[in-house]
């Protein structure tokens, strides 16, 4: 049986690349935009590109806030990508203060526009960065990164990034402009990637494959 995976469609972002990557890996991706569809899902992905406030508003209007929170507490495999990962956090400061889903404690803030060296840094950040283990964070062998090696690179497109309050949920960090940022979090079956695994070549496909529970 190909794994069933449900992509939450809440009106933000391009789901086509993600569907293609999941299909390529042998999964049967479906989309869900109603509470009932989300509640029935075996595995969930919350994608998203756009502003945090818009994202939460769209989830609220569709009645999806509670179903997604419940999925997280009930142990349904849940993957957040880019904005989807940011929405897992308590709050964001993007265009004013907005409450998030609160699945992870922490705040989403803007990337620093100045490097550690004082040079200006390009924001949005667009590009590939190496993932490195987070000091005090979740060891990779117990995470969705267990098939990867430190230094494997993934593709980011973002202006904001979350800072988890509990460093133990951080799986991987990345460096931009000399600053270190959280790139991935995991607690149980809930995984959040600030990068786009569906656009990160073979490394990203491995992360998705692991999430789907497909052996290597």
């Amino acid at each position: 049986m190909p794994p069933r995976v449900t992509i939450i469609d809440y009106g933000l972002g391009n789901l086509f690349s993600l569907r293609r990557a999941l299909g390529y890996l042998g999964a049967e991706p479906e989309t869900a935009s109603t509470p009932r569809e989300v509640e029935q899902a075996e595995q969930l992905i919350l994608p998203g590109v756009g502003a945090f406030g818009d994202g939460m508003r769209q989830l609220r209007e569709r009645g999806l806030v509670d179903p997604v929170r419940r999925a997280a507490t009930e142990g349904v495999p849940l993957l957040g990508i880019c904005l989807g990962m940011q929405l897992f956090f308590t709050e964001s400061e993007e265009f004013g203060r907005h409450d998030g889903l609160g699945i992870f404690a922490g705040r989403v803030g803007r990337l620093a526009a100045t490097a550690a060296s004082g040079e200006p840094v390009k924001v949005p950040h667009v590009g590939w960065n190496a993932l490195t283990p987070a000091p005090g964070g979740l060891p990779w062998e117990r995470s969705a990164l267990q098939e990867l090696a430190p230094g494997d690179s993934v593709y980011f497109v973002h202006s904001y990034v979350p800072s988890p309050e509990d460093g133990a949920v951080t799986v991987a960090e990345m460096a931009h402009g000399g600053h270190r940022y959280c790139a991935m979090v995991q607690r149980g079956a809930v995984v959040g990637c600030q990068f786009h695994p569906e656009k990160s070549g073979a490394v990203g496909l491995r992360i998705l494959r692991h999430f789907l529970g497909l052996e290597g």
């Binding site: 086509f16 293609r20 042998g26 390009k122 593709y155 073979a202």
Partner: protein
């Protein structure tokens, strides 16, 4: 990390290459090159349709759609985009970003509309810059056939204010020549805008790529001939001959050196990345198993 991005110029069903964006010659099927570059560790791919055929036979959306089935790095697509609907059509085909030149100059609001609908990260401002004097460049459109009178440095700043998330900056003077990037052009634009700048036009050697990063402060480097000529021989051996377009080159009647103004020292992407890494420029290490299908295609 610096992004290394092959540029695929498309005409009809074919990959083509010209000089100064003119005199296009057929190099083969874009699918073949795209897959080779993905396997070689290209960090993104850029498709630019030379005849703006968004809707006709062999349209760009179909080419992109086939690529997106097997290629899992970002795809930027441009050529003939005039409306938000055109952008949506390409995104639905599998593009991650769209490159817009002519239509944005005619109606700058298209940038704002596109950024609002799909996010600034989707909207790449495509510039065809023609040098008009010391420190002066004019935007051209329609594959450098049409003058606009618009100053490149003014336009990039305005376009970023409107919501452009990246700049794809092609030097028309250098494009296809192998003479090296226009560092002055790239460095000036990079200093004026807070968004990433992709340098394009003129790469004839690995050193040129190094220079436009070190001296031009490019955030990403785009090249066509530099990569195409490193693999065209292999492509000829592996695929059938073509009937459409100017295929003299593929039939062996024209030596490679006539395609650029001087010999292009073609490089495979891994060779280029190794060269850059030696010069202290960080690049993505491409995993060995990027080969599509090698991962876990399950029945």
């Amino acid at each position: 990390m610096i992004r290394v991005i092959p540029r695929l110029d498309i005409k009809g069903p074919n990959l083509v290459k010209g000089v100064h964006l003119e005199g296009l010659r057929v190099l083969g099927r874009p699918e073949w090159y795209a897959e080779r570059y993905y396997q070689d560790g290209a960090d993104e791919l850029i498709y630019l349709d030379q005849v703006a055929s968004l809707y006709g036979r062999n349209n760009l959306a179909e080419i992109v759609s086939r690529a997106a089935e097997r290629i899992f790095v970002p795809l930027t697509v441009g050529g003939g985009i005039r409306s938000v609907e055109d952008i949506q059509r390409l995104l639905r085909a599998g593009a991650d970003k769209v490159a817009i030149n002519t239509a944005a100059i005619k109606r700058p609001e298209l940038i704002r509309e596109g950024a609002h609908a799909f996010g600034a990260q989707c909207i790449v401002l495509y510039i065809e810059a023609k040098r008009r004097g010391p420190g002066t460049y004019e935007c051209l459109t329609d594959n450098a056939r049409v003058r606009t009178g618009v100053d490149v440095f003014d336009w990039v700043q305005r376009a970023v204010e409107l919501g452009a998330g990246e700049i794809l900056l092609t030097s028309v003077d250098r494009e296809g020549t192998g003479l090296g990037y226009d560092f002055e052009l790239v460095a000036t634009v990079a200093s004026l805008v807070p968004v990433p700048v992709i340098a394009s036009g003129g790469a004839g050697s690995a050193d040129h790529v190094h220079q436009v990063i070190a001296e031009g402060h490019a955030d990403a480097v785009c090249a066509a001939s530099l990569f195409h000529y490193a693999v065209v021989g292999e492509m000829q051996r592996e695929t059938e001959p073509f009937e459409e377009g100017n295929v003299e080159f593929l039939r062996g009647k024209l030596p490679i050196s006539t395609l650029g103004r001087r010999q292009i020292q073609a490089r495979r992407i891994p060779e280029l990345k190794a060269h850059l890494a030696q010069a202290g420029i960080a690049c993505r290490r491409a995993p060995a198993d990027t080969v599509p299908g090698a991962l876990c295609r399950r029945a």
